[in-house]
Amino acid sequence: MLAEFLQFLFSGVTVGATYALVGLGFSIIYNSSHVINFAQGEFVMIAGMSTVSLLALGLPMPIAILIAVMITTAVGLLLEKLAVEPARDASIVTLIIITIGASIFLRGAAEVIWGRDFHSVPPFTTNDPILVGGAALLPQTVWIVLATLVIIAGLWWFFNRTLTGKAMLATAYNPMVSRLMGINTKFILSLSFGLAAMLGGTAGILIAPISLTYPSVGVMLGLKGFCAAILGGLGNPMGAIAGGLIVGVSEAMTAGYISSAYKDAVAFIIILAVLIVIPSGLFGARGTERV
């Protein structure tokens, strides 16, 4: 009984942590531009596919991972420079549609470069599960959770202790005043896309040994990551983490205890319920109208 519960919990935490990492990317870009970047899932895919190619070239795992994250970050920066920045005076909705277009383009390009097949990435350490209370825990899950914690700590430090991070937060609150205070908001926008791509890429490499990787792997992960960000409150990084874990664990518990047929439905019902009661999400800034 306990073993069963633990197994569902491990599955939920593994999946939830990946939703959280993808959700973080949504939050960061939303913060600096109020744009929902629907190409976030494609960052996950590009990093995974790049790792496969680099490993096939015979590079050792750590170097392959590093280069793959760099490639993904570069794609994020290019996306901002070539697609978002030229249209920065357009409305938010237009920018969001641009990111949807970019996601379709990136997926198509990946099919041309890497083909439609799925590929596996070897786990960072061993593949043998660790038995905890009768439930199997994959070492890769431990890696994912550890990496997520490190990233949370890193982001906290970046946003609270560095000038650039504070400049990003300031831009999120009020771009106009920030610009008047001498913050280069154009640079901040680039930086947020780079950072979001880096996070998405890291998520992609962390989960590739579990989920495998293929050109459309980012579609559903992107959608679930978006849900995580919304549930936790768009723009709040800690909210995205909590949202991801809630969605992941509730999916696993539903599949385990109720019926796998209702798995996705229950996750979405929780999101709807939360948004009806707290429209800004669990940790979102409470919107107050000033008159």
């Binding site: 069963e4 197994q7 569902f8 491990f10 599955s11 939920g12 593994t14 999946v15 990946t18 439609r116 097949d117 799925f118 590929h119 596996s120 070897p122 593949n127 599960p129 439930a135 199997a136 994959l138 989960i207 579990i210 989920s211 495998l212 293929y214 459309s216 792997v217 579609v219 559903m220 992960l221 696993a252 518990m253 599949a255 385990g256 796998s260 047929a261 798995k263 996705d264």
Partner: protein, 386 residues
Amino acid sequence: MFKKILTGLGRSALPVLAAFGLIAGAQAADGVKIGSFLAVTGGASFLGDPEKKTLEMYVEQINKNGGVLGKPVELIVYDSATSPKDAVTFVKRLIEEDEVDVIVGGTTTGETMAVINEVQDAGMPFISLAGAGVIVDPVKKWVFKTPHTDGLAVEKIFIDMKENGLTKVGVLSGSGGFDQSCHGNVLKLAPKYGIEIVADETHGKGDTDMTPQLTKIKNTPGVQAFLYCGFGAPTSIVAKNYKQIGMTIPHYQTHGSASQKFIDGADGAAEGVRLPAAALLVVDQLPASNPQKKVAGDYKNAYETRYKDQISTFGGHAYDGLFIAVEAIERAGSTDKEKVREEIEKTKNFIGADGIFNMSPTDHLGLGPDSFVMVEVSDGTWKLLK
């Protein structure tokens, strides 16, 4: 807007293709015309591409050997780009302008189903290369097909389970079209083979972890075997999760997993998984007494020598479709459509890449569960069972 651009592209490609047709037509004034529309590009291109290559290779060979009825064979192939709409356009063109004698094509079920009205109205013998059972069930006068159906695969699996004394089965299926059709057949056919479905789980599109569903199946009292109905990346994920939570009951998957990608993607966890597959997959291991060994072996050699590419079972569907059509025309002694149709329907003991075909007025596929062989993953490759 996007659609308009696509149609525009299709239109501009048409005259070019038609020009090719005209040139070829001028050379072979009254040859036998075989028309085809295949998903050479688009989502199903990994199916359509080997089909096109197979047709081209064998039409060339047939012509080298004197053609059909002493006349050269002309092959007209259009790329329907995995689009049912384009498929209809090209089939109209094949019927009305190219005036072909028989159509062998239709890579996907969507493209095939879209053109059924056209070929039925025109009275055009049509051999489809798509998978679903609905194409020939109910039987349509002018429509035939060569690939196995998922129903046959499920029957083959149930027969194997019965032989091994496994009657209580846990099933997991995905949410795709193939997965759902397979799942429907599992529920429909289980009583016929005395199989009891004791657990019935599903997973969503793009899911990355199936351990909750598998844990549930593992803890179902009395479960003796596991069957996964699915396609693509999840096949490998299921195999991995299965080993991860320490499941040991026999693990079955369908012919949807019959690709090296499944074994590679599972990182060693696919060992011991059993599935039904076309004989083509293990042609080297077939006993010499198996009549398919020579046909499938020759096809494999010819394809791999010419295209320097690994053979796929999809090309095998095109091989069977082409030769069933050619032999029917030979037997009919003319290209009269009604006669050709009758002869296709009378196909008996045709040894193809997919199996041994025996068609009849009530069976326009002509394959039984015995057209599959059971294979097991062993040492990273396929091992023929029995």
